[in-house]
């Protein structure tokens, strides 16, 4: 079992998310005495009789003043069973981009609803974003259960409504868990509550400690974006030429046949180097340096990939984008696309559909895409790019859309259409060059199972 779980929280304003995170930290004894003293002092200053646990996480002055969370914050806590990296993301509608940020690296997400309000627009939007980004596991925490008198019927109704929505988004039944909690009173967060005798599932922390974490799939096709060419040219290493990078997916072994893309040159892995010595193999998540057998031309931005299962190389592709900028997207926009370790010029040639996360349907030809909207686009690049579908690889199927003028990040891009609900949109024909080996996509894009975690 993995010793590290990366998770994200999402919820609307006033659902009590900061309080829940504060409760998790507090009840797992992850809050040290001086921090707690400061929170207690600040709570007293505000006229409160008990410590306001949300002050543990709301780190910025304006957050504390307004009682809201503005920006994604990262929290670290550990129990004897596991270490946790928690991305705490704000619930304001204008800050959905932070949910995208938190979800992009999460292996599990906790979604909060207020038991008095049930599943609302924000809940549906967040669930859709989490499904789109391929977060494999979901927890719905029905919070403030104390404020509805610990009523089982309220919980059951919300749980059923949410589960139906999550399944429609492509989650499997065993990947969604619903838990009645009160972050304020502490019910079912760390300690099992006596006030919900009708609930026989795990507490939130029990679940976080026990939920299976899908490891990086070592049997996925090998992908290695070259970040940097290491050429010491020192007396000791006059001819050394190594390609430094982090294995994005799969496993590589000495002697493996690989392709360098987009050029398509074929060679073999001669050596896998680290400062601590040579390795017989390297796996997803590992930073290493590859030495190749032939004197091929490789530079930063190239992709070293499995020769047996290479990605496709295209200069036009279908994608889904989460638009994160104030400036709207219109068809014809000239942008930069960063994937792996390469940034290329690109044009968004078509805006085919906007996703309506309320009705789980799509709107054709929307004309433009605004902040927080999710849409299906066609991207043409100035040079051929090796790509996987996001639904088969969260690492090599992801890209950034960057404003060429001011350098800001405009959108989170996902190759293909990871949400089944967008399938009604006719697919574009992939144009441009074909892969030098004439290969087909490595994974069946009809496979709608949520993808396993990258990080």
């Amino acid at each position: 079992m993995s010793d590290l779980l990366r998770l994200a929280t999402a919820g609307s304003v006033d659902d009590g998310k900061s309080t829940l995170v504060g409760r998790l930290l507090y009840d797992t004894k992850s809050v040290l005495a001086d921090t707690l003293d400061a929170v207690t002092r600040a709570s007293t200053d505000r006229g409160l009789s008990t410590p306001d646990l949300s002050l543990l996480v709301d780190g910025l002055r304006s957050e504390r003043e307004q009682g809201i969370t503005i920006d994604v914050a990262y929290r670290y806590f550990a129990t004897p069973k596991r270490s946790f990296v928690l991305a705490d993301t704000p619930g304001h509608v204008q800050y959905t981009r932070n949910t995208v940020t938190g979800a992009s690296t999460a292996q599990l997400a906790i979604l909060l609803v207020d038991a008095r309000k049930g599943v609302i627009e924000q809940t549906r939007r967040h669930a859709a974003v989490l499904a789109l980004l391929g977060v494999p596991r979901l927890v719905l925490a029905v919070n403030k259960i104390d404020l509805v008198g610990y009523d089982e019927a309220v919980f059951t109704r919300i749980a059923a409504e949410f589960t139906e929505h999550a399944l429609a988004l492509g989650h499997s039944p065993d990947s969604v868990v619903t838990i009645p909690v009160s972050a304020l009173a502490g019910d079912n967060v760390v300690e099992k509550s006596a006030r919900t005798p009708w609930y026989d599932g795990p507490t939130l922390l029990d679940h976080l400690e026990q939920v299976p974490v899908e490891p990086d799939p070592h049997d996925a096709p090998f992908r290695f974006p070259v970040q940097y060419v290491i050429r010491p040219r020192t007396p000791e290493f006059p001819d050394y030429r190594g390609y430094a990078g982090l294995v994005a997916s799969g496993t590589v072994r000495v002697g493996d046949e690989v392709l360098v893309l987009p050029s398509g040159l074929r060679t073999t892995v001669e050596r896998i180097d680290t400062r601590d010595g040579e390795l017989p193999e390297a796996v997803a998540g590992q930073s290493v340096t590859l030495l190749l057998a032939d004197d091929v031309d490789v530079s930063r931005g190239d992709l070293v990939a499995s020769a047996a299962l290479p990605p496709r190389v295209v200069d036009e592709f279908d994608a889904t984008v989460c638009w994160l900028a104030e400036k709207p997207l219109s068809p014809g926009a000239r942008v930069l696309v960063k994937y792996g370790a390469r940034t290329v010029q690109a044009i968004v040639t078509e805006l085919r559909a906007r996703f309506d996360e309320q009705r789980l349907s799509s709107v054709d030809d929307p004309g433009s895409l605004r902040l927080n909207e999710i849409g299906r686009v066609v991207v043409r690049t100035a040079e051929p790019v090796p790509l996987d579908d996001y639904s088969s690889s969260r690492r090599t199927g992801a890209f950034l859309v960057i404003d060429a003028a001011d350098g800001s990040t405009l959108a989170a891009g996902l190759v293909g259409a990871p949400l089944p609900v967008l399938d009604g949109v006719p697919s574009c024909t992939e144009g441009g060059s074909t892969a030098p080996t004439g290969t087909s996509p490595v994974a069946d894009t009809d496979d709608r199972a949520l993808v396993s975690p990258g990080p």
Binding site: R61, Y74, A244, S287, A341, P455
Partner: protein
């Protein structure tokens, strides 16, 4: 054989990935290096990231002048041993010619910001590596791994770029720079576990030793160029160690018998105080002390 990565392997690989990404995308990076444990770890990871080639960037120390001798010796030892290049920006120079004034409380930590920004401008550094960790402090918990600063070096938490997957956007306009934090996801305990695993050498003051200290505001301060005990404060010889190393005037020691790495790890794991809360007067000034310094261009 199946390779499996533990938490430290993952943190190390992530940090190395960040170093290589910066080397690939920026023209003039620099590593902030004080000789403290976090910046020493940065140097260790940078060496690993580019081996067998030398580290392709220099180091910068913003020197408050309130140093522990052991740390300065260690700083110079690391630089010499690994053949690195060190630039030093001195707060003292700014005080001597009147560009900065000594604060009434004698602490010089906040005074580092101006020399830092001047050094960034004059050397045209476009990426500045810092050893900051998100677990240190709650304003730091909101920091990105790649943190864009405007031409005044300011951090605007409301205008941060979304940081997606491990795709870092280092684009910046002339005059802007990016602060880079490869240790963002490390905790204090991770740092110590890694120091043990890798056998990383650290300044001796991180381990228990005898020192003359006096008690002020609940902290054990050592005497030095920054001053000594005032009336009513008593200098006493105690067995202490440092959990953080900063400006001597505001860095407190903790009483400790932890004289080797194993004992330090046991102590950190059992500690009921955060490292900054236990030892840093500068973070106790207000609820938002760190946030305010970061907005002004501090690390």
């Amino acid at each position: 054989m199946t390779t499996s990565l533990d938490t430290l392997d993952r943190l190390e690989s992530e940090a190395i990935h960040v170093f290589r990404e910066v080397a690939g995308e920026f023209d003039r990076p620099v590593i902030l290096f004080s000789g403290g444990k976090d910046s020493t770890l940065l140097v260790h990871l940078a060496i690993k990231a580019f081996w067998p080639a030398p580290v392709p960037f220099p180091l910068l120390h913003v020197d408050t002048g309130h140093n522990f001798d052991e740390v300065i010796e260690f700083r110079d030892h690391v630089v010499a041993r690994h053949g690195l290049r060190l630039e030093v920006a001195r707060v003292q120079d700014y005080i001597d010619d009147g560009r900065l004034a000594e604060r009434p409380d004698g602490t010089r930590n906040p005074l580092q910001t101006v020399p830092l920004l001047d050094a960034i401008t004059s050397h045209r550094y476009d990426a500045v590596f810092g050893g900051g960790r998100r677990d240190e402090e709650r304003a730091r918990a909101k920091e990105r791994i790649f943190s864009l600063r405007n031409s005044f070096g300011q951090w605007d938490p409301r205008r941060q770029r979304p940081e997606l997957w491990n795709l870092y956007n280092g684009r910046h306009r002339p005059g802007e720079h990016v602060r880079v934090f490869p240790l963002s996801n490390w905790t204090e305990l991770d740092v110590w576990n890694y120091v043990e695993r890798e056998g990383v050498e650290l300044p001796s003051i991180y381990y228990a030793h005898q020192r003359e200290v006096y008690l002020r505001d609940g902290m054990l301060l050592a005497e030095g160029p920054w001053g000594t005990a005032r009336d009513g404060e008593v200098l006493q010889r105690r067995t202490v160690r440092y959990r953080t190393v900063g400006d001597g005037s505001c860095t407190g020691a903790v009483e400790s018998d932890a004289s080797d790495i194993t004992q330090v790890i046991a102590e950190v794991a059992a500690s009921r105080l955060t490292e900054r809360g236990a030892t840093r007067a500068d973070d106790r000034l207000s609820e938002a002390a760190m946030e305010d310094r970061k907005r002004e261009g501090y690390f």
